[in-house]
Symmetry: D2
Subunit: 422 residues, 4 copies
């Protein structure tokens, strides 16, 4: 596979993250703003190595797809128009919304796959009419082909950024590609919509990036398909705000050999994500990805004196007045020399989609690059961007952001060399 | 120089940090607590490398001086008894104070060198009677010899943890060892007490670790003496609480390519340190070491879109009711994708000396190890512990804690190898 | 009824509030501390009237029962010893616990009434063996008579400070005294343990004060009995920490005609109260009493432009590491001139029982005084102390603390006059 | 004096408060917003009396000047155009600024009186050319007459909302009207610009309201003039954000008999006010008005066990990035039952001018009403709005907001009655 100028990006969901991504890329292209928050757009290497070393833009090290050739499209259950979706998401300022109205209105929208078994709090208004999972997959594949043609894209890549689905542990149908495909035929109820999208994407030659806590790229069946199709997978769950800060601060305490007795995290948010997470079953998926990070960073087996009894509580509260402007509190109970207690309180008044959109862009461009370089299956070196990063064999980058970034930088250097040696 | 079982530690100042260090080491020796907060006591390698790698206690990698052989002593201007000094510092709980009373009462105390030109807010009650800097140096050297003998120590090392002196940029007398020694003879008023201690230590064969923002180990004159005596120097200014968190969070924002418009840091503390820092001239030394860290981590030349106009304000307020229980606030104004603003507020209810004491211990044991391994002059690989770390030639570890820790870990591995190859 | 020197106080529950009350009263009697937090012990009148007016201790205005004549006792489901109960509650410092050990050990403890239908998270270890509500009432009455005799008390008063019961709206059995007494005979399952205690107290001539959100003094049946017995009732639910601050700040915003869009309250606590409130059914009682206060203070009918759409969310989280040291967050979204938004964040690091114990003491002494002055039925003028204050006819003091205090002060002046006129 | 339809309001200073006042009144008149934050526009009586009492709009109780007849004008040292002044102040949103551009541009602006002795951080660009205080007074009086004529106002009232002047205790020249007038003739340097404005206003028959901490309405000389002219005076220093919350919380702690050991208040703000307060001499005026409030509310003579040793620290920091969006922190160290410590932290993300503008409007309309009702000299019943309220004889409303509001409400009722009886 070779680099070319036209990359089509299809988002599963046209909510806050997707529309902020579309508008932000357009704003960068039109020169209104640099790509703040994006390593591929303004990052340099080495980022965290010994100071003094001269650094170089990442965009000069690897031949990423240029923004000029990017086209967007998406599926949604509520809106058939990205401008209206952006207005509803209420992330963009009135000025930005107006400025990019024409561009957003032209983004093609396809009806999504609705399954009340997996999404309870959304009343679909724009869903596919096809009945049966096999028929739905075929409809999704047709959408991808149509999008590719409409946008004259050389390659397509799909980003999962839909609402959180009800949590479900792996089922028999997920254990192999054969079982999965049989499940499609018999309309197995344990196949979730997000898995249909990922399956359709891979079948159409498109890598899949999972920005949600939904179980998709983790399933054996889809990893098998990706390997067979020689396509990469990336995921899961953008590590954007509170969890990113948590891993940063936890790693910092561990670096200083400070112990932990408790960590209480609460946040309020008023976007569609918050509404969906009110459902305890949907929250379960999120809770798992938000809590395991601490166990990994604070290794109790290695540091029993410090981390053997941490009480860790994570609460997400839907609170309308805030919209996309999430507010997170962390209250950390730590102890130091002589066992004496101390406290840290962190209040992060962030914006979910403003933090997630540049991560999405980086992931799409880097996964596309990996595909062109012939990498397939799970990409563990993208761990820096995720709450529950994929692993591959012995490659387990963990949850410490500094370590994850080192791993990412090495991969970028490696991919840069591949080109030169090619 | 070889390892042996008896290391004498002399502290310049017997305030909160020093007495917490004494009592904490004794508590570890008596089995009341593990050495929480201390890399040399409970740290392992690799600490932040790829997860999955088996780790090993640092104490098994390098042959650090064992706590069993450590003796303490100190100079002070207020108390001639470490137990009373600890009671006044009010860091230790009544239980711990009582538990270690006998031990603390036996720590030898020497009268300190008072100079009202450099310390304005302390009324000395226990100062040396010698007049003239040369005579004072001789008295200090006699103290060190006496302490070495009393405690039967094979080696002595000196830790600067006295009050902050009035800030003074380098003067002619600091430009060479010859100028400095001439200055001693003519009683040059620009030689500060902390410099007298460092000079006396080196002359007696003791490495010097500077935990304060005072200008000592940075002077050309004292670095020259250290080189000549083949002794190492470490400094300056423990990076214990608020500044450590600041470097951690700033590095995290930079890793994510998030921009900064402002950073406001305030803290209240009620210990002797706070009282001294009420003097704007003393605060100047501290302010410099607390503000430059941000410039280094957030490199405006490399990331002009992110860091070219940060307003950075640091305020320290003396507030009696808190004693040693410092409370720090950081209010961070950041921006992300599309230039949209966000805020982080951090409230750190910490204890200065609880955080600083284990850093002091690590620094003393690692500097002693370096001395035994033949390293001399500034030790830049100890940057992890300091707000304004010493550099040496091209070796500039910067202020990013993850990078500093990598540098430290490499040095520990190197010193471990030296032994094996020796 | 006349004043006398011996008042017996029986607490339903010997948890954190009760044991802190016992020890605190004893500490005041022994001169270790003044009665901080208590209006009856250190308050003066006029407290909030025009400055300049000379003020007078409340204890000189009304003839409250003297602490010297107070005796304590209690019922519990876990401990048969107030010293052990205090140790488990972990509110008192080691010093105070030790200091009052003898006193606490001598406080008589009676086995409580267990009913798994109303208290799900407590495994009773010290419960009455009587079966059937009528038999349980008789056993409670016998306890009261025994306690009165043991302590030679002239009068007894009972304080409800047990765990929160499962929320239950009023049932047919609560509609009249006759229905209630019939319910006792047929062992009606909708009669809760707290109602048995209140019934027993009134039958034995003891007023009942309800510090919990449990439904007791609100029931028609018990109010009828109180009237018939000419005994007063007070309640419900101590307004101690977060809710007190909420009513204070909400009243302050209303005084300034500032509007509200949202109010998010979360708290973490690790005492038995927190554990019980983990049960959503128990929390319901608390939630109701914590949320209605805002509606009352911010009257939407009068100020539609300010308060017609407040989103109000209250979350309580059990978090072991904190014990009785609750931590509360309030995040307030307000708006002012031109509709521009502002935010207030309040972090209250309080101690539940330290705040509640002096309220309990004030309530007991004032209710005892009211009884002696011949007042019976609900006492609405005690609203200052409660989250959901009792009303009586047109007497509805509302939830604004300043107004409630005025009402309380007037009542104290009135009761003071009664004596003089008597 | 009778009510009429045309009231001219002249502001000394056309900064953030003044321009927000102009635009907000216009927005209310044009129906864009109700007068949020203003008692005179949306308040009702009784506001804090016994709930249940029917309430009535304040505007129906007293015959305040209607907004329809209000005209604005002002003096400034920087801008000769209120629209440009509003744009520079950066309080109004782009939408509001645009919406009210025409209105603001038409507000007459007069050059101000500059005196570098009292205002060090402002470089005047639009100052009066007159030299000598007598000539300056005459010029100001001419401005007032011109404004009255231009706007066809029946009455004029002047609001002091200029920058904070260097603090200066009362001088001989302020001791009597005669001394002051002699001082004008000899150009006494201790007469400040704010005093010239107040003198000119009174001489032209205009009451003066002082929203700043500058010493004006407090001087004997100007009070004497007000009495002679039968005109009222109101002041000083709007109690808008942090100090209002402080008095609210302090009063709440006192109502509960909770003690205080420390109160630390810091704030950051980036408006012109912040810049001026960087000068320690200007800050002194502010500091005094911000600290005395606590002493008054927490009366140590009455409650020595609670308030005899409060450490109270107030810090104001100029921090550009925030503009008018002030952020305030309060850290309160309190203690309760048994002397146990607790903490409250308050973070107020407010907007200075959004809070102050409606207070200014209320003060202007109520002072105008008082003038029409024949009240003259200091008006102590306006204390609710001020940090350092004027007193008059025994009339000392203190600093407790609930008490101050009661006093204000009584005065409104009294002024309402005067009309009916007239």
């Amino acid at each position: 596979m070779k680099r070319s100028d036209r990359l089509g990006i299809l988002t599963v969901g046209m909510g806050a993250v997707a529309t902020t991504l579309y508008a932000g890329v357009e704003a960068v292209r039109r020169g209104f703003t640099p790509g703040i928050g994006s390593l591929t757009q303004i990052g340099r290497l080495p980022i965290a190595a010994l100071p003094g070393t001269p650094s170089k833009p990442i965009s000069e090290i690897v031949d990423l797809a240029p923004l000029a050739g990017v086209s967007f499209g998406g599926w949604d259950l509520l809106e058939n128009d990205a401008y209206r979706a952006a207005a509803r998401a209420a992330v963009l300022s009135p000025t930005d919304l107006k400025r990019h109205r024409k561009f957003l209105s032209a983004v093609p929208a396809f009806p999504g796959v609705a399954d009340p078994r997996f999404t309870t709090r959304i009343a679909p208004k724009f869903a596919k009419k096809e009945i049966g999972k096999r028929a739905q997959v075929e409809a999704l594949r047709a959408d991808i082909r149509k999008f590719r043609k409409m946008t004259k894209s050389d390659r397509v890549i799909v980003l999962g950024c839909m609402s959180v689905e009800i949590y479900q542990p792996p089922q028999p149908v997920h254990r192999s590609l054969a079982a999965f495909e049989k499940g499609l035929d018999v309309d197995d109820p344990t196949i979730s919509p997000s898995q249909l999208y990922a399956y359709a994407a891979l079948q159409e030659g498109a890598p899949f990036v999972n920005g949600t806590p939904n179980t998709t790229v983790e399933t054996v069946a889809l990893q098998e398909l990706a390997k067979r199709k020689r396509l990469p997978l990336a995921g899961s769950d953008f590590k954007s705000g509170q969890t990113y800060m948590k891993t940063v601060v936890a790693a910092a305490l561990r670096m200083r050999m400070l112990g932990l007795t408790g960590w209480f995290s609460a946040n309020i948010l008023g976007n569609r994500d918050g509404l969906v997470l009110e459902d305890p079953q949907a929250f379960e998926a999120k809770r798992v990805s938000k809590t395991t990070v601490l166990d990994d960073i604070c290794s109790a087996p290695e540091y029993p004196a410090l981390y053997s009894s941490i009480e860790h509580l994570v609460k997400i509260n839907y609170f309308g007045p805030r919209g996309d402007n999430k507010e997170a509190w962390d209250s950390v109970d730590l102890f130091g020399w002589l066992g004496y207690p101390m406290q840290i309180k962190i209040n992060f008044q962030c914006r979910d989609s403003i933090l997630a959109a540049p991560l999405a862009l980086d992931l799409l461009l880097l996964t596309d690059l990996a595909a062109r370089r012939g990498e397939s299956g799970a990409l563990p070196w993208l761990a820096f961007f995720f709450k529950t990063p994929l692993t591959a064999g012995k490659m387990k980058p963990g949850n410490n952001p500094s370590v994850q970034l080192k791993v990412l930088e090495s991969a970028i250097v490696r991919l840069g060399r591949k080109r030169r040696s090619a």
